[in-house]
Symmetry: C2
Subunit: 175 residues, 2 copies
């Protein structure tokens, strides 16, 4: 419901109605509306950050490492289509302290990508595009998967999706 209506426009009464109880009864399960948002945001943030450890344990040339990073990222989004939409857009409603921690996790994750990209550029494996432009374009492309991909649709396999994003981002559309 946070994905569909947005966090601010989803009331405790909406949530309660969906579960089939009264709004007041929700407070036997959670302590506040924001706690639900926290749970969602930090669940996804944790999955992304744990990918960083996987990547750091690999010794590969940059282009293979970037492909692996892309595939791992796609899997997180595809496995959490609704939660990742909330993660991407509703985190700004976290309170000050949680937002600070959230942003720190995101920065750690993004830094891992910047490192791979810059490393590849130094070695001459990659074009010398401005890393910020490339990385932000890449994140946006990957994060946008929740907008259109439906895992149960069946027509596109999620592993194939990861490979295709890797192909597009490394080699582009031109034949």
């Amino acid at each position: 419901m946070f994905k569909e209506r947005g966090y601010a426009a989803t009331s405790m009464r909406h949530l309660a109605n969906e579960v089939g109880i009264e709004a007041a009864s929700l407070y036997n399960h959670i302590s506040s509306k924001e706690e639900i948002l926290q749970d969602i945001c930090f669940d996804i943030a944790g999955q992304f950050v744990s990918n960083v450890d996987v990547l750091n344990s690999l010794s590969m040339p940059p282009h293979q490492k970037l492909l692996k990073a892309i595939e791992l990222h796609v899997q997180v989004v595809v496995n959490n289509i609704d939660a990742s939409a909330v993660f991407f857009h509703e985190w700004r409603f976290l309170d000050k302290e949680n937002m600070r921690e959230f942003v720190k996790m995101r920065e750690k994750y993004e830094a891992a990508f910047y490192t791979i990209v810059k490393d590849g550029m130094q070695r001459g494996d990659f074009k010398k595009i401005q890393p910020k432009i490339y990385c932000q374009a890449m994140f946006s492309a990957l994060n946008g998967i929740y907008l259109w991909y439906r895992p149960d649709g069946g027509s596109i396999d999620s592993n194939e999706l990861g490979k295709t994003y890797g192909l597009m981002l490394l080699h582009g559309l031109k034949a």
Copy 2:
């Protein structure tokens, strides 16, 4: 304010306070809160759709046409950083009738890109990636510009930005 707080979480009193008048006085200028959202969404939608006419008037090979389409898209986002953020995320709060028209305009715009991409694939100029995956990734990458680009920052020129997106999307990162 709709960009920063979201439409639902921005009240008429917030808006009025920003302008320095009472909430009730806003209704001498607008007829409803949603009207402001309409104005923003359809302003941007109009700019995008008018790009389609420009593209249709060009006779170029697909890869040049796609580059032109990308550059035009980037200019709309860059010239309307705040409004395009609202356009991308808050349109779901439009009422039923406006949303229907809005979606129709978006579909018309997206169809122009699909046509170029499919045409290029048939001619063998482009890789045979699934058009939906490629186009959605492209839209997400381009639309995400509002998240990080600041036109007044000065360090990245908007024309250069359009060219760089074209390079990335057509040729990828690999050297």
